[in-house]
């Protein structure tokens, strides 16, 4: 008589318990990594959110012709050479008449950012009709005032330990009462280059530096990577040489990025004498770093195109090249693009190789082309994180937020392209 019993309760219980346990291990692992991620995002946004607002002080400025353009030429050079500081000090004297001695006057002037004279200068340069008129202008407050307004300076600690004195605080309170101090959206963050003054520092220079670097990186690595992958996968016969190349490509993908930076330093800068600290060289170094990633991704995509498609085209009398470029590459292209964008996203976040080729300098000017000196977003974050001024703390986080947004956008673009262009067979 065979055993027909279907219930093995002890074993069954153990098996169920084991399965449930493994599922829980997985869930816990996901929860732990998610919580790290959430913690990171919350911390960055909490710190960085403030940087998107900037404290401004409203002053009634008299654009007196005698101070700006005494001859009445309205010449751009004369306006650019004019000294706008008296305009501000005159206006401040009306707001704070009690500040009569030089020390007080200097303290009052220090509430306004030293970059404000340039703001005024640019205003007049853009609109010379302002000369001779009088109007209220919102000037950027200095970083200490900004931090105080955002509640990041504690007025209760000993006066000697803070840069904002009691008299300064009293004046800020006075401005507050008369509605002359306000927090506005911080456009300077997106339109300025780097600065020593936190309130004047912006990420445009670094963002453009990153953009130009990535442009060069794309122009070099995309065609080279795709052609290499297509040749190795579709044309090259398997031999010792192709094996050797394949092993080396895989090894290159694992080389630490700083090594590529050293390579760029010794070859592009010291041997070819290309301009130092420029997106041109940065992009070339990043291209070296991205190439193996693109080649490996493209090859695996090409390999996934079914052989039957190749057979169909070859069987019709299509040549090897027709088969490859009419059928195989179009099918693989969405995947190749995705691989490239992901490689570029990695390049966007890369810092170490750029340090090696000098893209780490303090650069105020906004780059206009690939041969202008520039930094990049991650390097800018590194530089700001290193700065002693307290005002850079929130700027650092703000720059990280911007970088993260770019990375997310690039990844979304990759997903979108894959969905949009993918053809099924």
């Amino acid at each position: 008589m065979p055993d027909l019993n279907l219930i093995t309760s002890d074993q069954l219980k153990k098996r169920h318990a084991k399965e449930a346990r493994f599922q829980w291990y997985g869930r816990i692992a996901i929860m732990i990594s998610l919580s790290f991620l959430v913690f990171m995002f919350v911390a960055i946004f909490y710190r960085g959110a403030g940087a998107f607002q900037q404290t401004k002080i409203g002053l009634d400025i008299d654009f007196s012709e005698a101070l700006i353009d005494p001859q009445g030429t309205r010449d751009a050079e004369v306006i650019a050479g004019a000294n706008f500081k008296p305009l501000i000090t005159k206006s401040l004297a009306q707001v704070f008449p009690e500040a009569a001695n030089r020390a007080d006057k200097r303290a009052v002037y220090k509430l306004i950012s030293s970059g404000s004279v340039f703001e005024l200068g640019n205003m007049v340069k853009d609109n010379p009709n302002l000369i001779g008129t009088s109007r209220r202008v919102w000037l950027t407050a200095t970083s200490e005032v900004d931090l105080f307004m955002k509640g990041k300076i504690d007025a209760d600690i000993d006066e000697a330990l803070r840069r904002l004195k009691d008299s300064d605080i009293a004046r800020i309170e006075m401005l507050k009462d008369s509605g002359l101090i306000k927090r506005k959206f911080n456009t300077a963050l997106f339109t300025n280059g780097d600065s020593r003054e936190p309130e004047m520092a912006g990420i445009l220079g670094a963002a453009l530096g990153s953009f130009f670097s990535l442009l060069i990186c794309f122009l070099i690595s995309f065609p080279l990577g795709i052609l290499t992958a297509v040749y190795l996968e579709e044309y090259a016969k398997k031999s010792r040489i192709t094996d050797f190349i394949e092993v080396n490509i895989n090894n290159l993908a694992a080389v630490p990025s700083i090594v590529f930076g050293l390579l760029g330093l010794s070859i592009f800068l010291n041997f070819f004498h290309l301009p130092r600290s420029t997106p041109l060289v940065g992009g070339m170094v990043l291209a070296l770093m991205t190439l193996p990633t693109i080649i490996i991704a493209s090859r695996s995509i090409l390999r996934s195109v079914p052989k039957s498609i190749r057979d169909a085209a070859l069987g019709l009398g299509a040549s090897k090249t027709q088969t490859t470029f009419h059928h195989v590459v179009p099918l693989a292209l969405p995947g190749m693009l995705t691989g490239t964008i992901l490689g570029m996203a990695r390049a966007l976040g890369e810092t170490a190789p750029l340090l090696m080729i000098g893209m780490v300098a303090f650069i105020v000017d906004i780059p206009k082309g690939v041969t202008d000196v520039a930094t990049s977003l991650p390097v800018q974050i590194f530089l700001w994180a290193d700065s002693p001024e307290k005002g850079f703390v929130e700027r650092t986080s703000a720059a990280i937020i911007v970088l993260l947004i770019f990375l997310v956008l690039m990844n979304l673009l990759a997903v979108y392209l894959r969905r949009k262009l993918e053809r099924r067979w």
Partner: protein, 267 residues
């Protein structure tokens, strides 16, 4: 003995000039020999079946006729295969021209991931067979009609070829092969993935195509070989054991091995 050919059949074949002849063909994959000294004549406007157990080399041999084996690095072909009197493995022969003359239909229907129209139009396009858009359209429609598919797809030529059923896809592949106007169509187990109804339709189609084309078909179904072909070659371990008229092969085979395979004792 290698390549035994029935004497009576050989004299018969000599009367009608074969369109394709294979003489002493050997095929190696690396060191492994897949085809061992095979000689075979393919008569014009007839259907020739290649049968035999799995791994006997019948597909490999079929792929020698349009040099599809060239795409496999390790594959080496020696011997002589002639098409209309020309050695197709001569270095002067253009493989592209050869494959335009000798079309192929594969085991698994492999339409391009493009529209039905584009699938058929691709061959004429790359070979410059049409000078105008109307002419191309004419070729596509005639080819689809010849493949017996036009009535089913005439209102959706822009739909993807992959949206068709398995049998329709295979007929689309046949239409695609016809569109280049070949002399010979090689078929590598074209019905192995199809249901009996789709298979019957394709068999009927082949019967009607015989007038215009020479067909060489590899099949693992002996019943199919018996139904559709005029000549049958039985392959075993890379050799042709017997080659002759299909009727005679299935009723009174000369070789004991053939007898055993046909009656299902080996396979």
């Amino acid at each position: 003995m290698a390549g035994v050919i029935d004497m009576q059949n050989e004299t018969e074949l000599a009367v009608k000039q074969p369109i394709m002849t294979a003489k002493n063909v050997d095929v190696f994959y690396g060191k492994k020999q897949a085809i061992d000294n095979v000689s075979l004549d393919i008569p014009e406007n007839e259907i020739t079946s290649l049968i035999g157990p799995s791994g006997c080399g019948k597909s490999t041999f079929l792929r020698c006729f349009n040099r599809m084996n060239d795409t496999i690095d390790s594959c080496k072909v020696s011997g002589k295969i002639e098409f209309a009197g020309q050695d197709i493995y001569s270095p002067k022969v253009d493989v592209v021209a050869l494959r335009a003359r000798i079309g192929m239909v594969f085991q698994k229907a492999n339409p391009f991931p493009k529209s039905i129209f584009e699938n058929v139009a691709y061959g004429p396009r790359i070979h410059d067979l049409s000078s105008s858009k109307d002419e191309l359209e004419h070729i596509v429609i005639t080819s689809l009609k010849r493949a017996g598919l036009y009535d089913e797809v005439s209102d959706r030529l822009d739909d993807p070829g992959t949206s068709l059923s398995g049998g329709q896809q295979q007929r689309l592949c046949i239409a695609r092969a016809i569109a280049v106007d070949p002399q010979i169509i090689l078929m590598d187990e074209p019905c192995s993935a199809l249901d009996p109804i789709a298979t019957a339709i394709i068999e009927e189609l082949m019967e009607s195509m015989k007038r215009d084309y020479t067909i060489v078909i590899v099949t693992h179904s002996m019943a199919q070989a018996a139904r559709i072909s005029q000549k049958t070659a039985f392959f075993h371990l890379g050799k042709v054991i017997e080659y002759g008229e299909t009727d005679k092969m299935f009723t009174s085979p000369d070789n004991e091995l053939t007898q055993n395979y046909i009656s299902g004792r080996i396979g």
